[in-house]
Amino acid sequence: TQLLEQSPQFLSIQEGENLTVYCNSSSVFSSLQWYRQEPGEGPVLLVTVVTGGEVKKLKRLTFQFGDARKDSSLHITAAQPGDTGLYLCAGALEYGNKLVFGAGTILRVKS
């Protein structure tokens, strides 16, 4: 069974602070995706990383894929209340393959 361990489970920070969410596995993934999910809604794709060592930026969000393609991180700079939500990482072992999801990180940004 492939597992994606996501940490921390819950993060409560003040507006303007930086934070990092981690996603780790013993499996090698062909791609890893980060999603954001609002209560009662479907996961919304933020980014996909596919190359070991790859770094992608989406405004204040920076995503990194580990060199061995077993881990990934999401870093948010100067968090804002609008960043509040559930962040999920999900990995695919092969093209077109099922996604294995992490348990998610609930982020709360207080103003």
């Binding site: 062909s30 791609s31 995706q33 999603y35 009662g40 809604e41 479907g42 996961p43 919304v44 794709l45 996909t48 596919v50 999920l88 999900a90 695919a92 093209y95 077109g96 393959n97 099922k98 996604l99 294995v100 999801f101 992490g102 348990a103 998610g104």
Partner: protein
């Protein structure tokens, strides 16, 4: 921007009844999936579908479950005889086959 749509948004059914959850994947996508999320738990894979047949299924996807692509646009999940533990959010997803999977808004299934 193209998106995955799902109907109904909420389905309430009695134990033992059949339900059909419907999805319209993004039009040029080739791979289709169903996932479910029990309240407070991880998103779990149920089944993947490619070239008009199941390509992979999980242990959850037993004989009570079936999928179908009856025409060129719809993708359905049928649960033949629902159980209380089938209560969950069911998500449809699709992809061109490369990397990104796009999810629909989900159907909340409540089995009473």
């Amino acid at each position: 921007e193209p998106e995955v749509t799902q109907t109904p948004s909420h389905q309430v059914t009695q134990m033992g009844q059949e339900v059909i959850l419907r999805c319209v994947p993004i039009s040029n996508h080739l791979y289709f999936y169903w996932y479910r999320q029990i309240l407070g738990q991880k998103v779990e894979f149920l089944v993947s579908f490619y070239n008009n047949e199941i390509s992979e299924k999980s242990e959850i996807f037993d004989d009570q479950f079936s999928v179908e692509r009856p025409d060129g646009s719809n993708f359905t999940l049928k649960i033949r005889s629902t159980k209380l533990e089938d209560s969950a959010m069911y998500f449809c997803a699709s992809t061109t086959g490369y990397y990104e999977q796009y999810f629909g808004p989900g159907t909340r299934l409540t089995v009473t």
